[in-house]
């Protein structure tokens, strides 16, 4: 196996284990917050994947919501309570939607792509709000999930879900890192930089976009199912454009260079949200908005770029350039 691939698998395994061990030390309220952060992070990882191809989706709420509703409805109406199974179902449902919507919108760029994703997510919102058979604007609550047949107690339910989430995140993060480091991932970056040249080198920009969009959909489905289970409740707001905006915020804060930065950013968002809701409920959005502006102005590459500056570059081929750049005080390529 390739050296950098081995490194990535190892990193994924170790992070997963570290997170699980950490879980046993955290208080319940923090477990809940971190689990939600994991869910949000997964969706934002999808947005990063799209951003690496030059596109920003302001409507990931669409697939996030589909994942949540698909798994949630099966839990409520078909009695499926197995959390791992629900995650797979949620992911599958979103992936299917991604495969359908992807080719339709993959030809658009820039703000038109962004607007189209918003429109689609709001169409879903509008539909769900009026479908009273599945809860309408109130949504519905979920039964307690089980884990390979075991039903956790009230004390252990948060930990159980957290552990499952940590495993999912470790796997997803590893998979994404492998994809980004692959030739396919490099091609996606090329699409971001110069679409024309990619076509004239014989590769299809459309295919790259559909691929990225589908991956993002799968991740969002996972995130939606996870958050549904964490909150115990699902409603149409999962698809509202302001929810999608939060995913974008995390992605901008993280930057597209580092996978771990995404989860750090989503954790920051969740912590700030909890903190603000408790002490400054009326200024939560002010904090978020100002933070976003500050990040865009002062750290346009996101937290990930800070990481890279410290480490001196990830890719071996870019290492010399990155080290030279680090010496000269510039951001790594």
């Amino acid at each position: 196996m390739h050296a950098s691939t081995k490194k990535t698998y190892l990193a994924g395994l170790l992070s997963g284990l570290a997170l699980i061990v950490l879980g046993f030390a955290l208080p319940d309220w923090l477990l809940f917050t971190v689990t939600k952060a994991f869910g949000y992070g997964l969706v934002s990882l999808g947005i990063i994947t799209l951003m690496r191809g030059g596109l920003v989706s302001f409507g990931q709420g669409l697939v996030y919501c589909i994942g949540a509703y698909a798994s949630g409805l099966l839990a409520v109406h078909a009695g499926v309570t197995e959390a791992p199974l629900l995650l797979l179902i949620g992911m599958a449902a979103s992936t299917v939607v991604g495969l359908i919507a992807g080719p339709l919108i993959a030809r658009y760029r820039g703000i038109f792509f962004a607007m189209l994703t918003v429109a689609l997510s709001m169409v879903l919102y509008g539909l769900l709000v009026k479908m009273n058979s599945i809860g309408g604007s109130d949504g519905f609550t979920l039964p307690e999930p089980t884990f390979f047949g075991w039903q956790p107690t009230v004390e252990t339910s948060d930990l159980a879900l957290y552990v499952l989430a940590a495993i999912v995140v470790a796997v997803a993060a590893t998979a994404c890192r492998l994809y980004y480091d692959s030739m396919a991932g490099m091609l996606a970056l090329a699409v971001r930089e110069n679409e024309l040249r990619v076509e004239y080198l014989g590769s299809s920009v459309f295919n790259v976009t559909v691929r990225n969009f589908t991956i993002a959909a799968a991740l969002a489905g996972l995130g939606g199912t996870l958050n549904g289970m964490a909150l115990g409740h699902i409603d149409p707001l999962f698809s509202f454009w302001t929810t999608s905006g939060e995913f974008v915020f995390i992605a901008v804060l993280a930057g597209h260079l580092s996978v771990s930065a995404v989860f750090v950013s989503s954790l920051i968002l969740e912590l700030v949200r909890s903190f603000s809701n408790r002490y400054f409920p009326e200024t939560w959005q002010l904090v978020l908005g100002s933070f976003l502006i500050a990040v865009i102005i002062f750290l346009p590459g996101g937290i990930g770029s800070l990481w890279e500056r410290i480490k001196g570059g990830r890719k071996p081929t870019g290492q010399k350039a990155a080290e030279r750049a680090a010496e000269e005080g510039r951001a790594a390529p």
Binding site: Y108, F112, A119, L286, I296
Partner: protein, 298 residues
């Protein structure tokens, strides 16, 4: 038959203030290439400012007709205060950069303005109902409609005409058009492009605030009124075409009447219908019905 007239009147009234907001949005996009997500927040600020300014009318012992002047001044105040801060203070830092980046900035501005309005005016609703009686009732068919609402239609028409005339028939307008087509060449010709940007942004903000100010008697002014306006105005400019004034008018009418039809005939489809139409237009004719901007496709 009665239903049709009611739907039409309601739809056109809604379309009127939606048009004013969309006009500002499309003007800002046309000149500065900025899709301002926060535009609906400016509408909200106009409404709140009107709520405050109209309290001065009885306080100063002025007759109720002066509320109209108060509302106009409220919109002006919002534009005078916010336009320079937002455009010169913030947006200008991002000119020439990725258009989606500016989209993120305007999204952040929306978040900030939402809470700023709560800080200034609190979370309780305000009612500006007195001006609503100023124009009595008008009989159309067999039903009575509030004269004030119909006045909004006239206001929107005047606003649209003023902007169109301003752009096409005045010297300043011609300069703005030149900047729209080619800011670099205009700058070489001696045009103070920065002033043009500020002017366009100011007019855009003023239009949104004006819509908010004059619509305040029809709604309860409270946190969150910006959001449906943001949603609807975006649908309008996408349908009508970014940067097009007639497009904004037609788009507003389509959205307004579709929404009114949905409310009366198919209440389940209200939010859905606007976005559905917008999605259809984006898929089949992304430039909108009145082509101005080329949609970026591969």
């Amino acid at each position: 038959m009665l239903d049709v007239i009611t739907i039409l009147v309601d739809g056109v009234v809604y379309a009127s203030y939606l048009f004013m907001v969309a006009l500002g949005l499309t003007l800002i996009f046309g000149v500065l290439r900025i899709l301002n997500i926060a535009h609906g927040s400016l509408y909200a600020f106009g409404a709140y400012a009107a709520a405050t300014f109209t309290t001065f009318v009885p306080a100063l012992g002025l007759p109720p007709e002066f509320s109209l002047i108060a509302m106009f001044l409220a919109a002006l105040a919002v534009a005078i205060v916010l336009a320079p801060i937002l455009e010169r203070g913030l947006l200008r830092l991002f000119y020439g950069r990725d258009e989606v980046l500016i989209l993120l900035i305007t999204y952040a501005v929306f978040l900030v303005l939402e809470d700023v309005s709560k800080l200034i005016w609190g979370v309780q609703p305000y009612y500006v109902f007195e001006p609503r009686n100023l124009f009595g009732n008008v009989e159309i068919g067999e039903l009575f409609y509030v004269g004030y609402d119909l006045m909004l239609i006239a206001l929107a028409a005047v606003a649209g005409l003023a902007v169109w005339l301003g752009l096409n028939k005045t010297k300043v307008g011609k300069i703005v058009l030149a900047v729209i087509h080619n800011p670099d060449v205009s700058a070489c010709m001696g045009v103070r492009v920065n002033w043009v940007y500020l002017l366009a942004f100011f007019v855009g903000v003023f239009l949104a605030a004006l819509a908010g100010a004059f619509t305040s008697p029809l709604i309860s002014v409270q946190p969150g009124i910006s959001i449906p306006i943001i949603i609807a105005s975006f649908a309008v400019v996408i349908i009508g075409g970014l940067g097009s004034i007639p497009g904004a008018a037609i788009g507003a009418l389509i959205v307004g009447i579709a929404r009114a039809t949905a409310i009366y005939e198919f209440p389940a489809a209200e939010v859905f219908i606007i976005y559905f139409v917008m999605a259809i237009v984006l898929v089949f004719r992304p430039e909108g019905l009145f082509q101005r901007t080329q949609a970026r496709k591969i």
